[in-house]
Amino acid sequence: MSLWICSRISEFLDSLFQEEFDDQTRYDPEVVRLVEEHLRQRSPHSKAGSQLAEALVQLAKARAVEGNQ
C-alpha cells in the first residue's frame, strides 16, 4: 500500500471495506454494513460512535426477536 494511497483516509477505508471486510466468513455482513454506514462517510456525525453502538444493539435485538419467533 503506497503512502500516497494510505494518506487518503477514504481510500484507506475503501481498501479495508472492499478487500478485508468483504470476507463474509470472517465478518458479519450486517455489522460491516453498519460500521461502513456510520464511519465511512466523509464527515461522520459527531456522535457516530454512540449511534453505531446503538445500531449494533438494535441489530442484535432484531435478530433475537426473529430467532424467538
Binding site: 503512502l3 479495508l16 471486510f21 454512540s50 453502538a53 442484535a60 435478530r63
Partner: protein, 656 residues
C-alpha cells in the same frame, strides 16, 4: 497534479491590496506560481488571511482582525479540464461553512496550505503534548492529514465503550428473582424444567390431580385449566368443608387417644409416660401413680404411728407414774426405767421417729399431686370423648357418637368423686378399657372406611396460583428472550471487535508509515538548509493517548531524545517547522498542490538566502506557490532563478 488556481481576485483587505488583488495563475492548464515583493507594513499578509478564509470553516485570522475580504477564485482540473468558479464570497458570520464546490477539493488535500512566519515555531513547539494545547495538537493531526483517521478511531473507541457498557445480566437476575418469589423459593435459578415441575405439583395440590406440563407453552394450558376448574373448586369447597374438617378432627382425636404404634419403644420413656403417649395411656399411668402414692402414704403412716405416737405416750405415762429424780427432763423418768433405757437411746429413737414423720409428710404431698394428675387426666379424657361424640355426629357415626357420650359421662362421674384412687381403680380401668375398644375397634376402622377427601381451597388460593403461573410464564418467556438477545449481541460484538481491531492495526501501520516518511523528508529538508550544522536525529512519535504527534530531536544516540525547544536555535526551529510544512504538503496535498508562503523566510540570515531559493526551486517544483516577501535580495535571487520557469513576479511599492 489535479486542481490548480487559475484566477484569484482579492478585495477588501486594505487600500494597497485592493489595487493589485487580481491574479491570473494559469496558462492553459498549467499552473503558474507567483512571488510578490512588498515592503513591510502595506498589509500583504492580508492575502494569506483572505485565502485561508476561503478554504477554512468557522474562524480565521481575518475574522479575528475584523476584516471581511471578498475573494473570487477559479479552479481548473489540470487533467480533466473541469473548472470551478467561486464568485466573490460573502461570509456573514463565524458559523459559515466552506462552500460546497470547494469542499471535495480541499478535503482531498487535507494538510495546511498556508504557512506564516509565526507558524514555523508554533508547529514545532506548541504541538508538544502535555501542554494545554489540545486544539493545536488536533491541528497538527489535521496538518498531517490524519484528522479523519483520528476521528474514525475515536468513534470506534466510543462504540466499543458503549457496547461494553451494555449488560443484560441485571435484568436476567431480576427475572430469576421473580421465579424464586413466585415459587416460594422452591426454584432459585433459571431452570425451565424445575419451574414446570413446581407448577405440576401446584396443580396437583389445588386440583387433586397432576397436570403434565411439558413446556412453557404448556403452562398456558394449565392456567386455562385452573381458571376453568376454579368454579368447581369453590363449589366443592363449600360442600366438603364440614365433613373434611370433622374427619380431620376425629383423626386427630383418635391419634390423641391412641397414638400410632411406634416401631421401637422409647427407652427414655419415664414411668409417668411421655408426650408421645396417648390420653388413655396418660390416664393409666396417672391411675397407677396415684394408687401407688396412696399406698405408700398408708404404709408410712402405720410405721410412724407405731414408732412415734405410742412410744411418746408410753414414755409420758411412765414419767408421770414414777416421779423419779434422775429422770428424763421431759417426763422426769429415770433413764434406766424408760423404754429407751438411756438418754442416748432415747435420742436415737426420737430422731428416727422425726425422720419418719418427715417422710410421711412428703408422701402425703406426692399423693396429693398424683391424685390431682389423675383427676386432670380423667377430665381431659372426658373432654376428648365429648369432642369425639360431637364430630362423629357430623359424620353420622351414630354408634360411636352414643358410646362416646356414655363414656364421657362415666369419666365425668369419676372425675367428681371424692374416693381415693384405690377405691375407684377398678372402675377407672374398666372405663379406659372401654375407651380403648371404642377407638381401636370402632373409631379408627370407621375413619379408614370414609372416602378420601381433598383439602378444600379458597378462591384467593386459586387466584394466587393462577397469578404465580402467569408471572412464571412471563419470567420464563422473557429469560428465553434475554438469553437469545445476549447470544446475538455477543455475536455482533465479536464481529465488530474483529473489525475494530483490524482498522486499529492498519491505522497504526498507516500512521507509522506516514511518520516514517515525514521523519525522512524533514531530515532531508533540514539538511538542505543547514548543510554544515550537526543535523539532529528527528523523531516524530505518534502518541496514542493524547492522539497527537510528539516532536523529539537527538544529537547523539536514539536513546537521548528531547523536545526541540531548548535544544535548537531559532533558525533551526524555523527550519524544523518549514521542513514539516513542506513535507506534509508534499505527502498529502498532491490533489490540490496550491500553497501560500507568507514572508516565512524573513527570519533567516542573508547566508541562508541561496539555500532557501534552491529549496523553493527544487522542492516546490511540483507545487503552485503563492509567495510573499519583504526581503528584496531574496526576491531578486528568486526572480533570477525562476523567471524562466513559469513563475510570475509582482512588485508592490509603498504609496507615498
Amino acid at each position: 497534479m489535479s486542481w490548480i488556481v487559475a484566477k484569484l481576485s482579492i478585495q477588501g483587505i486594505n487600500d494597497v491590496l485592493d489595487r493589485v488583488g487580481d491574479f491570473e495563475l494559469a496558462q492553459e492548464r498549467s499552473p503558474r506560481s507567483i512571488a510578490i515583493y512588498a515592503p513591510n507594513a502595506p498589509g500583504k499578509s492580508g492575502y494569506a488571511d483572505a485565502i485561508e478564509r476561503l478554504f477554512s470553516e468557522g474562524d480565521s485570522p481575518a475574522e479575528e482582525r475584523g476584516i471581511e475580504p471578498r475573494v473570487s477564485i477559479t479552479l481548473i482540473n489540470s487533467e480533466s479540464g473541469e473548472s470551478v468558479q467561486v464568485p466573490p464570497l460573502v461570509k456573514t458570520g463565524r458559523t459559515d461553512d466552506m462552500l460546497p464546490e470547494l469542499r471535495p477539493i480541499v478535503c482531498a488535500a487535507p494538510a495546511h496550505r498556508i504557512l506564516r512566519q509565526h507558524d514555523l515555531r508554533r508547529f514545532v513547539v506548541d504541538m508538544t503534548p502535555g501542554e494545554p494545547q489540545g486544539q493545536d495538537a488536533a491541528e497538527l493531526f489535521r496538518w498531517s492529514g490524519l484528522t479523519r483517521l483520528e476521528q474514525v478511531l475515536k468513534h470506534l473507541e466510543e462504540t466499543t465503550s458503549k457496547l461494553a457498557g451494555r449488560d443484560l445480566s441485571w435484568e436476567i437476575v431480576g427475572r430469576v428473582q421473580d421465579i424464586a418469589r413466585h415459587t416460594n423459593n422452591a426454584v432459585t435459578r433459571y431452570d425451565e424444567r424445575a419451574v414446570l415441575d413446581w407448577c405440576e405439583a401446584e396443580t396437583e395440590r389445588h386440583l387433586g390431580k397432576r397436570l403434565a406440563i411439558d413446556s412453557v407453552e404448556g403452562m398456558k394450558k394449565a392456567i386455562r385449566t385452573l381458571k376453568r376448574l376454579q368454579g368447581r373448586i369453590i363449589v366443592m369447597s363449600s360442600a366438603t368443608t364440614g365433613s373434611y374438617q370433622a374427619k380431620l378432627a376425629l383423626e386427630q382425636l383418635a391419634t390423641g387417644l391412641i397414638p400410632p404404634t411406634r416401631p421401637e419403644p422409647c427407652p427414655e420413656r419415664g414411668r409417668r409416660g411421655s408426650r408421645r403417649d396417648g390420653q388413655l395411656q396418660v390416664c393409666h399411668t396417672a391411675l397407677s401413680d396415684a394408687v401407688a402414692a396412696e399406698r405408700h402414704t398408708e404404709s408410712l403412716f402405720t410405721v410412724a404411728k407405731n414408732n412415734v405416737f405410742q412410744e411418746v405416750w408410753d414414755a409420758a405415762k411412765v414419767i408421770l407414774e414414777s416421779q423419779i429424780t434422775d429422770e428424763c427432763p421431759v417426763c422426769r423418768t429415770p433413764w434406766k426405767k424408760t423404754r429407751a433405757a438411756s438418754q442416748e437411746a432415747a435420742v436415737i429413737t426420737i430422731t428416727r421417729s422425726l425422720d419418719e414423720l418427715t417422710e410421711l409428710a412428703a408422701a402425703r404431698d406426692d399423693q396429693q399431686k398424683a391424685t390431682r394428675r389423675l383427676n386432670r387426666a380423667i377430665r381431659n379424657l372426658e373432654k376428648r370423648l365429648a369432642q369425639v361424640s360431637t364430630e362423629a355426629k357430623k359424620l353420622s357415626l351414630s354408634v360411636i357418637e352414643t358410646q362416646a357420650t356414655e363414656l364421657a359421662k362415666a369419666a365425668s362421674t369419676l372425675g367428681t368423686t371424692d374416693r381415693f384412687p384405690s377405691q375407684m381403680q377398678d372402675e377407672c380401668e374398666a372405663l379406659l378399657t372401654r375407651c380403648h375398644e371404642l377407638v381401636a375397634q370402632r373409631l379408627q376402622p370407621a375413619l379408614q372406611s370414609l372416602p378420601h377427601m381433598v383439602a378444600p381451597v379458597t378462591t384467593a388460593q386459586v387466584e394466587a396460583a393462577i397469578e404465580h403461573f402467569q408471572a412464571l410464564w412471563d419470567a420464563l418467556i422473557r429469560l428465553k428472550e434475554l438469553h437469545r438477545e445476549q447470544e446475538e449481541y455477543q455475536k455482533v460484538r465479536r464481529s465488530f471487535d474483529a473489525m475494530a481491531e483490524v482498522i486499529q492495526e492498519r491505522a497504526a501501520a498507516l500512521v507509522n508509515d506516514v511518520v516514517a516518511a515525514l521523519e525522512g523528508d524533514v531530515q532531508s529538508i533540514y539538511q538542505t538548509i543547514h548543510p554544515t550544522d550537526a543535523v539532529p536525529n528527528i523523531h516524530i512519535v505518534p502518541d496514542t493517548e493524547s492522539r497527537t504527534l510528539r516532536m523529539q530531536v537527538g544529537f547523539r544516540s536514539p536513546d537521548e531524545l528531547a523536545p526541540p525547544a531548548g535544544h535548537l536555535s531559532e533558525s533551526q526551529m524555523n527550519t524544523f517547522g518549514l521542513a514539516l510544512f513542506i513535507s506534509s504538503v508534499g505527502l498529502f496535498n498532491r490533489q490540490f498542490p496550491f500553497l501560500l508562503l507568507d514572508d516565512v523566510f524573513a527570519s533567516y540570515d542573508a547566508d541562508y538566502r541561496q539555500r532557501i531559493v534552491d529549496l523553493v526551486a527544487e522542492r516546490l517544483d511540483g507545487f503552485q506557490v503563492f509567495l510573499t516577501t519583504h526581503d528584496w535580495p531574496f526576491y531578486s535571487m528568486l526572480k533570477d532563478r525562476l523567471h524562466d520557469k513559469g513563475w510570475l513576479f509582482e512588485h508592490i511599492e509603498e504609496e507615498e
